[in-house]
């Protein structure tokens, strides 16, 4: 071993902490630089050279400190480090990056001290340099951690906002709108779409998107191979990182990604149910969001995304419950409203009309109700266009036969649901509806339709029963009113008229009757039962029968009314009916009458004005408050007298006080004194109340005895000639004129009147024709006078004039101011 190889033992003599100053300088644990005030390196230690890889010779005298810094640090050196050092003579912990010889960088912390010479002029700068490589990386980590935390906080904020929005969203559509806005602020997604599950139709439906130009918007079956459907089936988050991955698994997705320039897609199922139990969750939709760049999602982001899926799923679930509750409420309201609307109409036709109008457009765009009533059935349609009638008829037949609803399906050509309308166990008809295909929740919808059909069926059945009762009441009333009023007796003539209320009301309880008690005694009745409808009509029938039973030769009007008072103790509905009852002795021409709460009859004798018969009055039948002492009044009548019996509908009018009603009636009755009896009551009703009146009107007019002289005034209307003949025939019969003479007189008289009307009053529709007839033992004489323009023979009425001359024995034409024809016919032997 050579000597030089031996360790220098002399150094061992030093204490370990007794450093050699030179060695300490060179190998201190920090870099050490001494520079001139302009920065030129004049001394550098080995530590600095080792860190930076420079040769000492390359630095000393050649480089300035600032030359060793990165460009950014050079700027910082000039703007901060150097001025600070000049001002304060020292700087501490300045962070700079030194560029090494190999171009790499060493982060350092620098402390510098400026030594000044005599007079304060800068002399030299001493700088220590600490390696800060590890500290910088630590700081970098801190910074990264902070930005990660900030991003996470931002996501949480976005998510919180979304959750708040979801909580406030009452409908599925609003939930979808809220959630579709989330991924862009939270994850910097490029666009987002949302699909919801339609469980009824087993489909996935795209409902919202922030960029509708992307993706495929067709509804898809849940069993589809498309990516959205796959993820909905699996129920777990799926991230498609790039196009290649998409192409490998979901060709449809790859195609739309390529088309819309997307690189990464997240498919998030929107779930509800227990998060820990995958099998228990149900998928209500899928949120799809995509990125234009390839995007790695951190675990934290994935956690938040999953959370978003659960929150949205729960919000959807809640909204569905809300939706269901709201629909249930709407349906209940609709049903209640429909029942109310139907109740407002009583008649079957109107009620059916109301039903279809209620359906369209509220729940259907077309509706028809068909009922099996009457020979032709009843049909009411609303909306349009009408569907194929043959298909509909087949479906109606099916629903009627099976007594179960036939619902429209997605694939059917008709598109109509047919509901049988049943009530009390039988099918009354059907209600057919064409509804929008997207009426969701078919089960609930079907229950609703069944409830609707139930209510409609009952309402229509009630209307049908009402209609039936009404028809029965009307036919009962007609049969009672039309029955055998005596006629053909020359001693009297009866003419009646019944006019039902004009406003579609039920039949009233008004009635009239006339019958012979004995061959010489005629009974006449007009009455009014309280109330309307079948009960009033049947009560009227009972009262009518009771009166016929009580009327006999010995009773008389007052005792008959007492009998009715007893009758109504058994027939309560007859109580408070009003009746005027009169008996006429046809030979003696004597009238006896009694009024039980009824309006007074009106009498017109041949001489003098018409008068109301105000005697013989007492209270209504069975009255408790009114006067029940039944009285009657007797009076003799002149042959030719007319009596009018009527019910209150004739004189009572809302726009006229009752007493003025009586005045008008008196005046009108007097005015029509000359009118033929036939048609007189109808004419009176027409004048007094018109067609549109609110009450039934019942009139009976009685003419007693044969007038000595028949006098009538006719309007210029051909229909009047038949009415005149009716009166004249009765008058001639009453005087015992033989058939041949009667036929001849009727013919001659009719022709003369026809001539006046057809020619005398050709230009005057308001002209009148006066007819008077007298009778002697051997002849009948008739005078027909008009004030029109004479048309002589040679006209088309030539045959008429010839008939007058041929049928009558003597004829005289007097043409003065108008024409008067006087005709005479000898009587043959009475038959």
């Amino acid at each position: 071993m050579s000597e030089s190889d031996r360790p220098d033992v002399t150094q061992e003599l030093r204490l370990p902490w007794d450093d050699d100053p030179e060695d300490l300088y060179e190998h201190a644990p920090c870099g050490y630089l001494t520079t001139l005030p302009d920065g030129t390196v004049v001394r550098v230690n080995q530590t600095f050279l080792s860190w930076t890889g420079y040769e000492r010779a390359a630095l000393v005298g050649h480089r300035r400190f600032r030359d060793l810094l990165t460009p950014g640090c050079q700027i910082y050196h000039e703007t901060h480090y150097a001025p600070l050092l000049t001002m304060q003579s020292e700087v501490h912990e300045i962070a700079l990056d030194v560029v090494c010889a190999d171009g790499s960088r060493v982060p350092v912390l620098v402390n510098s001290v400026l030594e000044r010479g005599v007079g304060g002029a800068p002399r030299v700068i001493r700088t220590t340099v600490f390696n800060a490589t590890e500290r910088r990386s630590y700081e970098g980590e801190l910074l990264a951690a902070r930005s990660t935390a900030e991003a996470a906080e931002k996501r949480v904020q976005v998510l919180q906002q979304i959750v708040a929005d979801l909580a406030a969203a009452p409908t599925e559509a609003e939930v979808a709108e809220a959630v579709v806005r989330a991924p862009e602020p939270a994850f910097q997604a490029t666009s987002t779409s949302i699909y919801l599950v339609d469980a009824e139709r087993d489909q996935l439906v795209a409902v919202a998107s922030t960029d509708p130009t992307t993706g495929n918007w067709d509804d898809m079956p849940r069993s589809s191979r498309r990516a959205v459907a796959e993820v909905a089936r699996r129920g777990d988050l799926h991230v498609v990182h790039d196009l290649a991955e998409a192409a490998a698994h979901f060709p449809d997705l790859a195609e739309s990604m390529a088309r819309s320039g997307r690189r990464t897609v997240v498919l998030l199922p929107l779930t509800t149910g227990p998060a820990e139990d995958q099998s228990g969750v149900s998928v209500l939709g899928v949120l799809a969001f995509s990125f234009a760049e390839e995007r790695e999602l951190t675990d934290g982001e994935l956690r938040v995304i999953r959370l978003l899926g659960q929150q949205t799923g729960q919000a959807l679930d809640r909204a569905r419950l809300y939706d269901d509750a709201r629909r249930r409420e709407e349906r209940a309201d609709f049903l209640a409203g429909t029942t109310r609307a139907l109740d407002e109409e009583h008649r079957l036709l109107q009620r059916s009309r109301r039903l279809v109008e209620r359906m369209v457009p509220e729940i259907a765009d077309w509706a028809t109700v068909r009922l099996h009533v009457g020979p032709a059935g009843l049909r009411e349609d609303a909306g349009g266009p009408a569907p194929d009638e043959d298909l509909l008829a087949a479906r109606i037949a099916e629903a009627t036969r099976s007594v179960t609803p036939v619902y429209a399906t997605d694939s059917d050509r008709l598109g109509c649901t047919v509901l049988p309308l049943t009530a009390r166990g039988k099918v009354l008809g059907t209600l057919s509806l064409r509804m929008a295909a997207d009426r969701r929740g078919a089960e609930a919808e079907r229950a609703f339709l069944v409830a609707l059909a139930g209510r409609a069926g009952l309402a229509l059945e009630n209307a049908r029963l009402y209609e039936q009762e009404r028809a029965i009441a009307r036919s009962l009333q007609r049969s009672l009113l039309a029955a055998d009023v005596p006629s053909g007796d020359p001693r009297f003539a009866v003419e009646s008229h019944y006019q039902p209320a004009g406003q579609d009301l039920e039949v009233g309880g008004d009635w009239f009757d006339a019958f012979l008690i004995t061959p010489n005694r005629l009974a006449v009745v007009v009455g009014d039962v309280v109330g309307r409808g079948l009960e009033a009509a049947s009560t009227m029938g009972q009262l009518r029968s009771a009166i016929r039973a009580l009327a006999n030769a010995s009773n008389g009007p007052a005792r008959l009314l007492e009998g009715l008072d007893r009758f109504c103790q058994r027939v309560e509905s007859a109580r408070m009916a009003t009746v005027v009852y009169a008996e006429v002795d046809l030979d003696a021409c004597e009238l006896v009458y009694a009024c039980a709460g009824h309006l007074p009859p009106l009498l017109h004798q041949p001489a003098g004005p018409a008068e109301f018969l105000l005697q013989g009055r007492s209270g209504p039948i069975g009255t408790r408050a009114g006067d029940r002492r039944r009285t009657e009044q007797r009076l003799r009548l002149t042959p030719g007298s007319r009596l009018l019996f009527y019910t209150d509908g004739l004189v009572e009018r809302r726009d006229r006080p009752l007493d003025s009603g009586f005045e008008v009636l008196n005046r009108e009755f007097s005015r029509l004194r000359g009118a033929p009896l036939k048609g007189l009551p109808a004419a009176l009703a027409d004048t007094m109340v018109g067609r549109e009146h609110g009450d039934d009107v019942c009139l009976l007019c009685l003419t007693l005895g044969a007038e000595e002289r028949l006098e009538r005034t006719l309007g210029a209307d051909p229909l009047q000639i038949a009415l005149l003949r009716s009166d004249m025939r009765a008058w001639l019969t009453g005087h015992g004129v033989d058939a041949d003479c009667m036929d001849a007189v009727l013919l001659g008289c009719s022709e003369a009147v026809a001539n006046s009307i057809e020619h005398g009053y050709r230009e005057d529709p308001f002209g009148v024709v006066d007819v008077s007839a007298t009778i002697t033992d051997d002849a009948v004489e008739v005078r027909v006078a008009d004030r029109g323009t004479w048309r002589g023979p040679g006209h088309s009425r030539g045959r008429g004039l010839r008939l007058i001359e041929e049928s009558m024995d003597e004829v005289l034409f007097d043409r003065g101011d108008g024409t008067t024809v006087t005709m005479r016919r000898h009587r043959g032997e009475a038959e």
């Binding site: 051909p718 038949a722 036929d743 009727l746 013919l747 009719s750 026809a754 088309s796 045959r799 008429g800």
Partner: protein
């Protein structure tokens, strides 16, 4: 509208018109239209007037028109008027041809059928 006055039936070859009630100026026109509608193409016509309670010159004019029209076409017509009654009286007063009259409906139908 005119059903209360006029109804129709068929007796052998003859289209039979049954008139009823009062026929006068007020209804003759409508009755005439109803009858013509049924008799224009008939080979024989019977008009039963036995139930007519009144017949005036307007009714006569109507019958005259129908008879004239059938005569022109060479088709037979009979007016069944019974032995007496208002219709027969009026027609006789108007001097209708007696060969048009028949007493009994069935016999008249038989005659036309021969």
């Amino acid at each position: 509208m005119t059903d209360q006055w006029v109804t129709f039936s068929r007796r052998g070859v003859a289209e039979t018109v049954h008139l009823k009630g009062e026929i006068d100026l007020a209804n003759a026109h409508d009755i005439g239209r109803a009858i013509v509608a049924r008799t224009t193409l008939a080979d024989a016509v019977l008009i039963d007037l036995t139930a007519v309670s009144f017949l005036d010159s307007a009714g006569v004019r109507l019958l005259d028109l129908i008879v004239g029209e059938l005569d022109e076409r060479g088709k037979p017509i009979r007016l069944v008027v019974g032995e007496r009654g208002p219709a027969r009286m009026t027609l006789q007063l108007c001097a209708f041809r007696t060969d048009l009259f028949a007493i009994d409906l069935d016999r008249a139908a038989e005659e036309l059928g021969r």
